[in-house]
């Protein structure tokens, strides 16, 4: 399936300025001017970040007791949200790197947004393991650095693997994002004036669009794709091992790595759709983000939802089949215990609702997709909540069973994390083109040259 041919011709027309194009104008349009709704949204996001920051300062000063932890549930919403955001961060790399390697050209229109989402989601996610520490100020203990006292870290601990996995993933994502941006920054540079121009000039790294530059650029994208591809699989596998390596019934399962990766892609795509639908509408990018893209993403969602459904079923099956009472009780109480609401939300939102995507009409029905993806995001958050909280609350020593109740402080930080993410995304929208202009052009030229027969 290819973009409509009329759009191709239009976008390459150059009515106003030399070396400019319709695509440049359309896609750069959001970065110009003052849109009040935009600034209202940004203001709200910044306020949300500030309130969360205040709450976090308070929590750091007073102690983690202001969060809802109760013995024996020592991890709560912070870790839930950490896994949630790390999961969100998967779609970007998947779209950019894996689909790039597979030459799935349709990705070109959505990859920038997805990459940005990845970077900001990882930045958001990385905060949570830090702010859930009992002593934030001892964060550097988790990093292996040479010191006189020969204090070293425990390489057996999955939490340490996390440190490496997340920092690696964050650096690769940022690199990927930035390298992809360079040609577009150059476009922005050419169109900007004053201070803006100076900044863009620095960021554009002297991009002139020469042949050797393009060659180097496409090579680095290719190589970065090669580097990033295994990371898509490894990061969430490692995050899943935070749980799978433990002895907690409900966590200690070999299926966790593929289960978490599929879940991450699933949740990530849902978030991409949730973001691109309003962006497309607000910035009138319908021309570039077409039904075609949304349908492809819907298919991915359907696939990963089904994998998740399989993983859920497999977990329950293994719990039963193992014959281990601890596991059986843990899973039984997941579905019918104190947290049954979360569990059934998770199953309904993640497995049952997405099955509607078998219907082609719904795959291109954007309002439907938008609502469905909201549910999926909620469902994915609940998935992590269920895994973490229910398992911890019903462990081996039944006399030590307990309950976790989310506290106002955690809710505020949770809300703050969405604001933090939105803040970065909104800033990104104002500064950089949300669609990779050069790649869209590439796609369109390709379409024109090959008469739409892809």
């Amino acid at each position: 399936m290819a973009p409509p041919a009329t759009a191709v011709a239009d976008s390459l027309a150059s009515p106003e300025r030399p070396r400019d194009s319709r695509a440049n104008i359309d896609i750069m349009a959001p970065t110009h001017g003052v849109q009040w709704p935009y600034f209202l949204a940004l203001g709200a996001a910044v306020l949300g970040v500030l309130q969360a920051l205040a709450v976090l300062l308070y929590q750091t000063y007073v102690g983690l007791g202001v969060a809802g932890y109760q013995q024996p549930v020592f991890w709560g919403v912070y870790i839930v949200t950490f896994v949630f955001w790390i999961g969100i961060g998967h779609a970007g790399t998947l779209i950019s790197a894996i689909l790039f390697l597979f030459r799935a050209k349709w990705r070109n229109a959505v990859n920038r947004g997805a990459e940005a989402l990845t970077v900001f989601a990882v930045i958001t996610a990385a905060l949570f393991p830090i702010l859930h520490l009992g002593r934030i100020w001892k964060l550097y203990f988790l990093i292996p650095y040479p010191n006189q006292r020969s204090l070293w870290v425990n390489f057996k601990s999955p939490l340490l693997w996390d440190v490496f996995a997340i920092s690696t993933y964050a650096s690769i994502s940022i690199m990927f994002f930035y390298v992809g941006l360079i040609p577009d920054i150059a476009i922005a540079r050419d169109r900007a004036t004053g201070v803006k121009k100076a900044i863009y000039t620095v960021l554009a790294l002297g991009w002139q669009g020469t042949g050797p530059q393009w060659k180097a650029h496409s090579r680095s994208v290719l190589h970065l794709s090669g580097l990033a591809t295994p990371l898509v699989l490894s990061v969430h596998s490692i995050v899943s091992w935070d749980f799978a390596m433990s002895i907690v019934p409900g966590w200690h399962a070999t299926i966790f790595a593929p289960y978490f990766v599929a879940g991450a892609v699933f949740g990530g795509f849902a978030m991409v759709i949730n973001i691109l639908i309003p962006v497309r509408r607000i910035f009138r990018l319908e021309r570039y983000l077409t039904d075609y893209h949304f349908e492809n993403m819907s298919r991915f969602i359907l696939l990963t939802s089904t994998i998740c459904g399989y993983a859920y079923a497999a977990e329950y099956f293994i719990a039963w089949y193992s014959g281990v009472e601890y596991e059986q009780t843990s899973f039984w109480l997941r579905a019918f215990g104190p947290y049954w609401v979360s569990t059934w939300c998770m199953i309904t939102f993640n497995v049952i609702f997405p099955q509607l995507l078998w219907i082609k009409k719904l795959r291109t029905n954007l309002p439907f997709l938008f609502v469905l993806c909201l549910f999926i995001n909620l469902g994915m958050w609940f998935e992590r909540y269920v895994i973490i909280i229910t398992s911890l609350s019903r462990e081996y020593i039944s006399g030590s069973w307990g309950l976790y109740v989310i506290s106002p402080v955690e809710l505020s930080v949770l809300a703050g994390s969405f604001c933090w993410f939105s803040m970065w995304f909104l800033l990104f929208l104002k500064v950089f083109p949300v669609i990779a202009i050069t790649e869209v052009k590439e796609l369109e030229i390709h379409a024109r040259d090959h008469g739409g027969a892809h």
Binding site: G63, L127, G134, W137, F141, L151, S246, I247, L333
Partner: protein, 1009 residues
Amino acid sequence: MSELDRRDFLKLVGVGAGAAATACAEPVEKLVPYVEQPEAITPGIAVWYASTCTECPAACGLHVRTREGRPIKLEGNPDHPINQGKLCGRGQASLGRTYLPDRYPQPMVRGAGGSLEPSTWDDAMAQLAAKLDSARGRTWILGGTVGPSLGGVIDQFAVAAGANRIVYEPFAHEALRKGTEAVFGVASLPIFDPSQADLIIDLGSDFLSTGLSPTENARQYADARNVNTDKTGGTRMISFGPRLNFTTTSADQWIPAKAGSEAAIAFALAKAVVAAKGTPEGVDAAGIQRFLSGANMAQAATAAGLEPSELSAVAEALLHAKNPVILPPGVAYTGSQATSTVAAVMLANALLGAVGKSLVVPPATGTADAASFADLKVLVAAMKAGRVDVLLIHDSNPVYSLPPELGFTEALGKVGTVVSFASLKDETADSAGLVLPDHTPMESWGDSAPRPGIRSIVQPTVRPLLDTRALGDSLLELGRGLGGAMAEGSFHKVVENNWSDVNWRQALAQGGVFSEVVIEPVGISGDFAGLGYSASSASGKGDFALVAFPHHFLGDGRGAALPWLQEIPDPVTKLQWNSWVEMSFESAKRLDVGFGDVVEVETPSGKIEASVFPRGGIRDDTIAVPIGQGHSVGLYASMEGEGEHGGWIHGPIGAEGQPGVARGANVIALLPATEDEMGGRVWGGAQASVTKTGRFRRLALSQWTDNQRGRELAQSTSLAELAGHGSDHGGGHGAHHDEPPHTFTAAYDADPNQPYRWGMVIDNDRCNGCSACVAACYVENNIPVVGETQAIQHRDMAWIRIERYVGDGDLEGGAARRPVPNREKLGELDIRYIPMPCQQCGAAPCEAVCPTLATYHNKEGLNGMVYNRCAGTRYCANNCVYKVRRFNYFDYGNENFPGMLGLMLNPDVTVRQQGVMEKCTFCVQRIEGARQPAKDEGREIRDGEVKTACQQACPTHAITFGNLRDDASKVVEAGNHPERSYHLLQELNTRPAITYLAQVTRDENEGNH
């Protein structure tokens, strides 16, 4: 970018925290080292003093561990014949009295504004002296039991001031004394020794919890039931009572008799005994017949709600046992015929041959004994009539502990001057006109003579911390001022002079003088005038019999000021910090209430409100409320400090500090101010009605379920299985794995090149759940008390807890958000206690997951915990299968040792910072303490040289600690019972260093030899 962002974030946090920290910097204080070092104090080396515990009348001997002049830990005095080195939870916690922020810092005088204002000793004493002088004959002294020396000074003062003295104890055991007097002619409290009996019929004495000498009795009872040496399982106990109480838990059979039927049962049993044994020569047989004439087995069974056959089976067992003994009801069941009940019990005991063996009647001690309730009524009448000008109150809290119906509080208003000698704030001192604070026991001289042959010294172990003065010294000065013939010198001298018959210094070092004294046997004299049984009707019209029972830790309420006793869960219900109303699930259903629903309990005497705790172990016609809560004064006793000690934020459920608001309800308000036949105070027999209020107040419940779901956490085996072990193993009800998976040798889990692998054996059959170990652990390891708000959130910090399960459990339940223990059944006993410290696993799940190696396996097999290295990821706690790790949610180490409580901290143990994990380390500081001398002497640490705090405290010797690599060690020997030993959750291959020995169910039929 991400790294940079994290750092930026941290900087921001750091700047914020730094700014906050500098804003409240404390003024510079200088540390001044010793210029001349005091003799006997070497910094870093503990000095031990012998003393005596004054928390309860048992008078256990103490060894007070002091460091740099501060007492920091109480342990039992091994030379003391009563407790033999052990100490109960109340004793352990009593150390805190010296350091509580509640103490009066100096004399207080009620000012014009109506509040107590600080004064000076000179002023306050002068003021009192003037009043006393004019109040001759109109002065009364009211106070608790004190030692002989102080008692002597009070008596001298009473003569000098022309005062009347009333010794008042809430639990005065008047009925026990009078009933004993009726039978034997000796008005004293019998000394009970369970080890001398083979069958104990307990009519609700609760002797293991709040009896006359619980620590001693617990040891004797456990020794008498040692399955390792006695294959029959030893002494059996049949316990009566409407409620499954602490002692009943340790019994072999529970007969859930109705509350108030104790008298009927006692008489029925006595009658059966008399019928079988006859009356001895020279005893007024007719008098006994007359005394017992009201008794009737069938009628007693009806009164108790039992089948007559059940009762006659008990009588049968009694007559067939070699050394049976019947224990009279305890405080909770002291009814209107209490003295007659005791008399009947003592008569039966005498005929059964128990007296002189398992029950020894010592000679009467006379005036030092507590007065009866009737005497108190005389005082109150005098007060009401305005005939009391000065009332001196010491060592008691009558405003709290006397029933409001008596009108003591109102009568206080008519007394010219009320003087309190309380060292800690309490309700009585709060309503006094003058407070002359006494020293605390740790600062005082004193003595105690609990029984013939045992004289014990109370010696100060710290210089008085505040401007207080010993009661003895105050009275000596006042008495001299009044021209009375007072003893010479200070009170210290008085005590010393009273001990002039022995080597004073030697006695001080030893803690007293202990000698075996043969107590003259007593014969039945049988003066039963005024006694006898008649079927009585309960007072009040409510649907429920009200059982007001002494709280295991709070006793008569004096323990409520001590935060440890509030926070350590009640062993039976596992509730903390507040009052509760126990009722059966059936009753709760009928009233449409559940756990935490507030109900109003009303009797003709008054009403209270408290939250419901439904349980299986109580009769449908009974409700039970613990005595000891409901204080309206005190940082911990009332709600004054609630919230203050959880950091300065109190969590979502928390309330701000509420001075003057009572913590829970004082059940004494429901009790009538009546007395029994001989003037003793009545605690039982009230009928109460219960109504739902519709409000909810959550109770802090430390353990939500008593169902172990067949997980074999607390295992049990039977005598038959023990006997048949080896030939017919596996026939039991799942107590053991036939082939334990992952067999291992715990001794190997340490560096092979050094001599130690520390390990522990816990004998669940000896554990009675008393939680002395928990208290010892709190004090030894500087464990913070978190308060009710936090306890409700399951954030207690105990490093060792006692889990309580009923039976093997099944897969029911667990789905409720907040379940309550629900497996107790009326008349059934399969209660299993399992103490749970860190298991010091050989393959510890916690160690592998710590990213910073803050928790690690040390060379000697311990799971070390480096607090300084902990960043607080809490993964270790998630991965701990035993759930023994505790997290510092707030800055408990700073906030929760307010005022002088910080002085009580053990300098050998780090005080943990906010945000770090902590856990049991087998008292590693004690191991290190023993290592240095061993190294100096070029030897290894000897077996028994290191005792963990829990082991040291355990009254029943259930805990053995030592080196698993030393084949001759006690711990290896103790664990060498393959028929009972198991490791907790062995199938997980955590290779724990603790071996548990399964509890043994003694078949009830075997009890009836």
